[in-house]
Subunit: 208 residues, 2 copies
């Protein structure tokens, strides 16, 4: 990247790469600011301008990356969900071979108790009454849901060829989302820990 060969072509490339990096960094700052904004202010309080200001990016640059409000916020929830899913897999590099199923269940449930879930919830609920947003969020929900399911199956070592195993994992993720909801207005951690303990026992009996 240091322009060692000295040809014009290489110099062009050297300039282009940092520009792409800067553009990617800007995009990333916008996506992270969008999730934080949605989690804190809800859909009504979340506009492209507010997010641009939070991210320290001009409104024009923000609109270059995300022409519409729907583009920005659906991309943001998807990006942060992917990041969290990758982080979760990195936490248990041995996947199904991990000895501590309690820790895996707790980490899966944790996906739904932070600002990402709060942001997604605002988006889901707004989409239920707003038509242009609804189609986008329905698609997004399907993609993110499939990825969460795949991650859970891998980390729990569930054998989906066994009857009922697929629905066991789905029910667990539904429970995780319900626990996320219960954590929205109050700190529900103590109760959640006890529910996770008990349901890890039920899962262990079922998944073997």
């Amino acid at each position: 990247m240091g322009g060692v060969s000295g040809t014009a072509n290489t110099a062009d490339r050297a300039e282009r790469v940092p520009k792409q990096d800067r553009s990617r960094a800007t995009r990333q700052r916008l996506l992270e600011a969008a999730v934080a904004c949605l989690a804190e202010r809800g859909w009504a309080g979340s506009t492209v301008s507010v997010v641009a200001e939070h991210a320290g990016v001009s409104r024009g640059a923000a609109q270059h990356h995300f022409p519409t409000r729907e583009d920005l916020f659906t991309a943001a929830v998807e990006y942060v969900a992917e990041e969290r899913s990758l982080a979760l897999r990195a936490l248990f590099p041995d996947g199904a071979a991990t000895g501590d199923r309690r820790a895996v269940v707790a980490a899966l449930v944790d996906l739904y108790t932070g600002p990402l879930f709060r942001a997604a919830l605002h988006l889901w609920v707004a989409a239920s009454n707003e038509e242009p947003l609804r189609a986008r969020v329905t698609e997004l929900e399907a993609r993110v849901g499939r990825e969460s399911h795949r991650t859970a199956v891998d980390l729990l070592g569930a054998d989906e060829t066994r009857p009922g195993a697929r629905e066991t994992v789905q029910g667990l993720l539904d429970m995780a989302r319900g626990l996320g909801l219960a954590n929205l207005l109050t700190d529900d951690r103590a109760r959640r820990e006890r529910v996770v303990d008990q349901w890890t026992r039920l899962l262990a009996a079922e998944l073997g």
Copy 2:
């Protein structure tokens, strides 16, 4: 009540009672319209005036019953939740003695898939960013949650003196809320049926 004795006192009472009945009917119409409005339009679109119009009640009469918007919508969610809880108990008059645990689980899950859950979800999510509403909804959530738990324990015949039984029922209700969330944007019935089948099996093994 027919004013048989003919004294002025009895006549007064005869007039008062229908007036109380009318007032109760008006209140009930307002509460039902409030839940329908919240489910369809969300918190931003739900005002006392809109609900009064839907219910065919004057704005003044609506404000006589419910001085603030918070009063109306929290009372509405609580009223409809109580009605649904009573209806659920009436569906299984034998309670724990009922043979069909699958039907009980399905009915409990159904509490979270209709307009009531949609309305409550709008209220919960709005409360997470709005301070005067937050305290009211937190209190309401605790009351409604306790009542749902008690209903579930009774209908499932769970023995809460057994270790883990309480958390098994709590996790089931968390799962039911998660299933309600999954039904917000799409008709999730087919998947939900399969999850309910599977988790009824797991519950049966646990609750005995």
